[in-house]
Amino acid sequence: MRQPAQPEPGASPSIWSRLSTITDYFAWPLRTSHYLELVNPLWTTHKLQARVVKVWDETKDARTLTLRPGLNWRGHRAGQHVRVGIPANGKHYTRTYTISSPPEREDDCFTITVKAIDKGTISHHIVRNIKVGDYLPIGLPQGDFYLPDAQPIQPLFITAGSGITPAFSMVNSLIAQGRLPDTHHIHYAPHEFDVVLGKELKAMDRYNDRYHLHLIYSREGDDPSRNRFSAAQLDALCPDWKERDVYACGPPSLLEAIEQCMEDAGCIRRLHVERFRAPFTEVPADAVGGRVRFAQSDVETDGDSDTPLLKVAEEAGMNPPHGCRMGICHTCNTTLVSGCVRDLRTGEVLNEAGSIVQTCICAAAGDCELDL
């Protein structure tokens, strides 16, 4: 029997990409997409952007942005997150947010819900300054924190604060598909009015027999410490928790407590966790040198607080790109993978992963890793 011909992967580019190979001759050194951007920023192929179509305050410090993604967007799975580029004070920052809307949404938009966190310049900027009509660069949906497609499971969601977002998306998606299993959801918030998406959660609880919501206000009542997560609390709210698949998202302290509890009960394999990763490295107060790692060369050495990293690399036997050695030509630019470096000219500390580092005038400020 003859098999139908299968297209080889990558062998036949789409008509659009063939056409743009030709039109790119007209646009060189840019691409056709750069000129399409002038007409509609959602048509670009060189970067993916989204238009802010609605902003809505969930609580006094949390806001939901409804975003219309560009043409190259692909649908997400409930629970996945997306990278969002945010311009603040002239600089471009990238942050990752969970998509809070279900994929079944009909208008091709998706939402992210952002809570302004203490000292979080970017989350404050999103919550206060992003306007309808702004265009934000976005990535494609990513992440493996989603419900399995096939087997019927009985989920238990344990969330806190803005950790509600993946659970909200998952439950809504199951409701939209009409296949919501018996679901328990324990959510922690400081007070009643601090519950992100609180009204929607209560409505879901009211209209769906199989969805059981337990809201716990951790700073209310006579003895707030009794409201903290514990195995006893779990037994009281959801007696069959040991038979359920647990999906947890929240601050590290909560996740640690849940992990410990599940470990003790011997059902750690039923636990699925989504963590918020801290985007900043702590700046050591007494910034001296530290271990310097050059990721690509797989070299690790010590660098002190006033030796330029370029010199540190050279003394370790490497020959990284460099030019003027005085910070003007930017030939030595590289990316900070992790850790903390200091600009020797200004004393400015760079501690955000992904920052551009001029190795000839930056020194280690604690441990650091560079993409060299």
Partner: protein
């Protein structure tokens, strides 16, 4: 104490103090960068792209006014006016791209925004020189070794005598012709402005030593030629073929008109860029330096050399933008990675600082700066013209 050999009456300590004051200005401006700077560069980029694509279509539009169409407005004066507008706009768009956008992006002036679309290491510009090659010969060699003989290839670009310190050779008799040729073919000149090629002409290396480099330049040149002299003219000619059955006008001529229009736009950009750039370090009063003078140079002395070796051009806001703010050549050389929209506001502070320390600040009209550059070029084609290889205490008479 005075141990330096720079042509100023300052002690070593005063030069360092001068350097520290400049450093303070730099830090102050760098700390204040923010939303308005980002808004500026985004606006310039958007304007440039809109202008470039509109210009291309205005050139196409002019083809509908060739007399052969026979309608009321189909006449050469109408056609040429529209064509001229398109060519002028395309020239301006190329000038904006090369000078205010690409030159400054490639100096890493906008890297602080961390915008992945506007980064020095990924930006490719609309000229024949590949941007990474240019960044090496310009950012590294020229900006570090500004006006130092035997080090800075931009001192005469290897073909001209721009200071009496360069030894005269009979070949320099032809330099007024090189001057004109380089003006007309500036884009091509920049593309082949490479130490390796310069060395090859002097017989110091073999062709195969730098074949990969030539291939890189070759690819960039091909894509530039393919755009301006094949793609855009050919598209017009292909559309003109079916039309030519009804309107008697040769598609070949259509090809020629569009290609010619693009050539003129490139020429406008070449002449303008050459004029501005030659006013940067060659007008009367700009100093050149010997290797001995810059031996063991400190940061303060480096600042001093940049100031003595660079010249500003005076003009209005639009003039500064069209010159890529290279009209603030002094500020650009002191702070090459400061975003260009800030040069205008630091210029008065730098000028006042120079005045306090009694350091010459060479700033004049385009007429004076380009005029003296040109007169210099004529004078230095012949032997003499000033002291050879002597550190000069005062402004050399170069007439």
């Amino acid at each position: 104490m005075k141990t330096h050999q720079y042509p100023v009456d300052l002690t070593d300590e005063q030069i360092e103090e001068f350097g520290n004051e400049l450093e303070a200005i730099r830090n102050e401006v760098f700390d204040s960068r923010g939303d308005r700077d980002r808004a500026y560069i985004l606006k310039v980029i958007k304007t440039q792209r809109t202008m470039a694509v509109s210009a291309r279509f205005i050139i196409y539009l002019s083809l509908f006014f060739i007399p052969a169409w026979g309608h009321a407005l189909a006449a050469w004066p109408v056609m040429l006016t529209i064509l001229g507008l398109g060519v002028f706009m395309l020239g301006i768009a190329k000038i904006l791209e090369n000078m205010e956008i690409a030159h400054n992006v490639l100096h890493a002036q906008w890297d602080w925004m961390k915008d992945p679309e506007i980064q020095s290491n990924t930006w490719e510009w609309d000229t024949m020189s590949p941007s990474d090659r240019w960044m090496h010969s310009h950012n590294v060699v020229h900006h570090t070794w500004t006006n130092v003989l035997e080090k800075d290839l931009d001192v005469g670009y290897g073909i001209m005598r721009v200071t009496p310190m360069q030894k005269w050779k009979p070949a320099f008799l032809l330099q007024p012709i090189y001057f004109i040729l380089l003006m007309l073919l500036f884009e091509e000149g920049v593309a082949v402005h490479e130490q390796a090629i310069d060395d090859h002409l002097k017989g110091k290396n073999k062709l195969k030593d730098f074949t990969p480099l030539l291939k890189r330049i070759g690819y960039k040149v091909w894509r530039q030629v393919a755009k301006d002299y094949i793609a855009w003219p050919l598209a017009a000619a292909l559309v003109a073929i079916p039309i030519s059955f009804y309107v008697s006008f040769s598609p070949l001529l259509v090809f020629g008109i569009v290609a010619g229009a693009n050539a003129v736009a490139n020429l406008i950009r070449n002449i303008w860029a050459f004029t501005i750039i030659f006013c940067g370090h060659f007008p009367a009063g700009a100093h050149n330096f010997t290797l001995e003078q810059v031996e063991g140079e400190t940061r303060g002395r480096w600042y001093l050399r940049q100031m003595l070796g660079s010249c500003n051009i005076e003009g209005g806001k639009l003039f500064h933008i069209l010159s890529g703010n290279l009209s603030h050549q002094i500020e650009h050389h002191l702070f090459p990675d400061m975003c260009s929209n800030r040069y205008q506001e630091v210029a008065p502070r730098v000028r006042a600082l120079a005045d306090r320390y009694g350091i010459p600040y060479n700033s004049a009209s385009l007429f004076r700066q380009f005029g003296t550059t040109w007169l210099n070029n004529l004078r230095l084609a012949f032997p003499g013209g000033g002291e050879p290889y002597e550190p000069r205490r005062e402004q050399a008479s170069q007439s």
